[in-house]
């Protein structure tokens, strides 16, 4: 592997001593098959132990290491360093408060995540002895892609609505709620749709599609939101024809 030097310009912020974020440049040797995360780890281990960033699995599944790289939200463990020039700017994800350096505040997201009731809602709980549900491969396909979200939050960083409307539930949470609505084992769509139709729900989405473009796992949150909108409009139209089902 050939080794070259690159300059990594990292946004630094320590609320203990900084009023505002600043940047710090590190010129380091990089291998051409590295991901951006490996450059940050090199800095942490060999140059500056005070740099703070989150990471763990380094295989694009734990969702910890989302950051803005040259202004674009990226999962840094999947983002090849070879796709950038001699200087790479690494900043925390946009649209989140910064805790320190590249670490952002997740509590708001966790609240939104829980708000969509991301669990199976059923009128009657089955006992283990009753066995598994039958679910056809087609029924599985109705929601499977929406279950692939790793909660990396790149979509919140990219979403123009999130930046203007902080209460917007946002792409990942809405896609997750829709994932359960689409699951043949679930009976909670009425409950979730009420949340979806509320302020900050699906109708806040302007269909900019940025979320789907930046998603590292092909989840297509904007597609999920459009499907959910359609379901809700149909639901709403039906409510004039037949009495609405009571939610369980």
């Amino acid at each position: 592997m050939s080794e070259v030097k690159k300059t990594i310009v990292v946004t630094r912020f320590d609320p203990d001593k900084d009023e505002v974020p600043k940047t710090q440049s590190y010129e380091i040797p990089v291998q051409d098959d590295w991901k951006v995360l490996e450059a940050l780890n090199y800095i942490k281990d060999n140059v500056d132990p005070t740099l703070s960033h989150r990471w763990s699995c380094r295989m694009a599944v734990c969702g910890s290491c989302g950051m803005n790289v040259n202004g674009e939200p990226k999962l840094t463990c999947k983002d090849p360093i070879s796709s950038y020039g001699d200087t790479i700017e690494v900043a925390p994800l946009a649209n989140f408060p910064v805790v320190r350096d590249l670490v952002v505040e997740l509590e708001g997201f966790m609240d939104k995540f829980k708000a969509v009731k991301p669990w199976i809602i059923a009128a009657k709980e089955r006992a283990a002895e009753e066995g598994t549900h039958r679910q056809s491969p087609d029924e599985l396909a109705d929601f499977k892609s929406f279950s692939m979200c790793i909660n990396c939050m790149l979509c919140y960083s990219a979403c123009p609505v999130v930046s203007n409307e902080p209460d917007f539930l946002g792409p990942a949470a809405l896609a997750l709620g829709h994932r359960y609505n689409q699951d043949s084992r679930d009976e909670g769509a009425d409950e979730r749709n009420e949340i979806f139709r509320d302020e900050g729900g699906i109708f806040s989405c302007s269909y900019a599609n940025e979320c789907t473009e930046v998603c590292p796992k092909g989840v297509n949150p904007s597609g999920a939101i459009q499907q959910a909108k359609l379901n809700n409009v149909v639901d709403w139209a039906k409510s004039f024809v037949v009495p609405r089902r009571k939610s369980s």
Binding site: K44, T50, S136, D186
Partner: protein, 574 residues
């Protein structure tokens, strides 16, 4: 004064075992107060990286007895047979519960849950959700846990000490990473579910957070770590990074090839018989190392070591995309290889620790009120070698059992005074503060970690020479001394990942110490512990569990009987 919060049950770790335990506690006694303390947000837990599947009897051509026997034989007769019997009985119920909670298990055309073949298993009994099974199980458990209002999460809190008084564990001291403050999180029972410690070794499938924290916490309180010499090398990790390529690749029909393009598991005798690529992991990893030693390894420019090839080309793009799409994504992203068109270079990689905190079948430890489950624990399901796809199920079965037993335990526990616990937490806050202030000169985390990795790779690899194990013991003892001279650079209290790394390093060195000592004591070859100096199994002297106890002047070794049952030890040949 440290901040104090009070709960009934404190669970440390938010992966599959911890979340399953939390749900079990809440279901056993609604309204009970649960603290779920994790150094990461639960969905980051390393369960997320498990790929291939979870084992439980599901098909009409399978039986509980067959699953039990496969597990006993896979363990090289060091698994406890009462534990294994309970495990196979509960396994289908637990995976069914996950199904009810929404886990997107892959399906057969008739809508039943699909199963695939896995190493050492007689028939197809591994449930799967393509090749992201850990990810889907973890997210299902985490999302489901949110509907239980009794669970209060302490995300990004690093537990530095168990609070033990009067022979009972009644809480933890936890460093809140956000503020840098140590808190006392008190409870009447504590369940450890922090996973294994793969980062003790340099080349591992494990994520950065796998630092043996729960093992070290229990060890330092005087609880034995059991069977620590048995560490699993998974046969197929990617060059350089060690990223896991699932055994499901072979379950779906993949081949292992040497540099001559030969399917060596079918042409040479490595003890796996007609199972070939579906032999157990210990044997396949040794076969690959022997092929490399015989000069039939594959060299990759710029990468350390030699490799074998994992060939999936004959499966075809459609099957690869339907069954193991993540393998394709990983191979392309991290090895620049498309398995549809090229074989994947792989080599054995440290993956899993069979050993852990010594528990009984209920997950209970030698300290009252302290439980452990999942990879952190050694309930003696896996013995000397774990079968692939048993560990995800283990997290559920024994996470649930530990949770249920913790609830029973606290019903009969009168608690005790808080004073001594709070004084321990105060001391711990002082110790953390002192560590943060340990600056200027001295030893550095990165150097010590590299030394530890190097010692453990040389001393406790796939093959273990007596001389190299003895040396590892001496060198780890020296490393402990060097750790005392550690110097940090980051004085900040806010999200200080350097001090976390320092605390993790201490945990890893303690775990390494126990592994090195247990390995040196076992002068035989059994399961994953392969000693060229003692190439055969020796039931006369070594059909026992290893115990390592912490001591201020060095670790102490002891042993414990294996619980046999219907199956007497026999030669392990497939």
């Amino acid at each position: 004064m440290v901040d104090v919060t009070r709960h009934d049950v404190v669970i440390v770790g938010g992966g599959a075992a911890g979340l399953r335990a939390a749900i079990a506690v809440s279901e056993a006694r609604p309204g009970i107060s649960i603290a779920l303390v994790s150094k990461v947000y639960p969905m980051r837990s390393h369960t997320v990286s498990a790929e291939g599947g979870a084992a439980a009897v599901a098909r009409s051509d399978d039986t509980l007895e067959m699953h039990a026997y496969d597990t006993v034989k896979g363990s090289d007769f060091l698994g406890d047979q009462d534990v294994i019997q309970y495990f196979v009985e509960e396994a289908p119920k637990e995976l069914t519960r996950l199904e009810h909670w929404g886990c997107p298990w892959s399906r057969n055309d008739d809508g039943t849950v699909a199963t695939r073949a896995f190493g050492g298993m007689t028939t197809k009994r591994t449930w799967f959700a393509t090749d992201k099974v850990g990810f889907h199980m973890l997210h299902t458990l985490f999302q489901t846990s949110m509907k239980y209002g009794d669970i209060e999460r302490y995300d990004e809190h690093f537990v530095t000490k168990l609070l033990v008084d009067g022979g009972a564990c009644r809480g933890v001291a936890a460093l809140d990473m956000r503020t840098g403050q140590v808190k006392a999180v008190l409870g009447k029972a504590v369940i450890l579910a922090t996973g294994g410690g793969g980062k003790v070794w340099p080349f591992t499938t494990n994520g950065n957070i796998k630092t043996g924290d729960g093992m070290a916490l229990a060890y330092r309180e005087g609880i034995a770590l059991k069977d620590m010499e048995f560490v699993q090398y998974h046969p197929t990790g990617l060059p350089g990074t060690g990223i896991l390529i699932t055994e499901a690749t072979r379950g779906e029909g993949g081949y292992l090839l040497n540099s001559e393009g030969e399917r060596f598991l079918t042409t040479r005798d490595y003890g796996v018989g007609t199972k070939a690529e579906l032999g157990p992991r210990d044997m396949i990893s040794r076969a690959i190392m022997q092929e490399i030693a015989a000069g039939r390894g594959i060299k990759i420019p710029g990468k350390i070591g030699e490799y074998a090839h994992l060939d999936l080309r004959h499966l075809g793009e459609e099957k690869i995309m339907a069954r193991i799409p993540f393998v394709r994504e990983l191979s392309r992203t991290y090895a620049n290889v498309d398995p549809v068109h090229e074989p994947i270079p792989i080599r054995p990689v440290l993956h899993y620790m069979m050993g852990g905190v010594d528990t009984d079948i209920d997950g209970a430890t030698e300290i009252d009120g302290l439980y452990a489950a999942g990879e952190t624990a050694c309930v003696s399901l896996n013995g000397a070698n774990r079968l692939g796809s048993n560990s995800l199920t283990e997290c559920l079965v024994f996470g649930a059992r530990a949770g249920a037993h913790a609830v029973q335990y606290i019903a009969g526990s009168s608690g005790g005074e808080e004073g001594p616990l709070l004084r321990q937490a105060e001391d711990e806050a002082g110790r953390v503060e002192a560590l943060r202030g340990q600056q200027g000169g001295g030893e550095k985390i990165t150097k010590l970690r590299e030394s530890m990795n190097d010692i453990m790779e040389r001393g406790t690899g796939v093959y273990r020479e007596q001389a190299s194990m003895a040396k590892a013991n001496t060198e780890i003892a020296e490393l402990k001394g060097r750790y005392e001279q550690l110097s940090l650079d980051d004085p900040s209290k806010v999200f200080n990942t350097e001090i976390i790394a320092a605390l993790e390093l201490r945990n890893m060195i303690d775990v390494a110490e126990s592994v090195a000592l247990a390995a040196l004591h076992r002068k035989e070859s059994r399961g994953a512990h392969a000693c060229p100096d003692f190439p055969t199994r020796n039931d006369g002297e070594y059909l026992h569990h290893s115990l390592v106890y912490y001591g201020p002047t060095g670790p102490r070794f002891d042993k414990k009987d294996v619980t046999l049952g219907v199956w007497e030890p026999e030669e392990r040949k497939y």
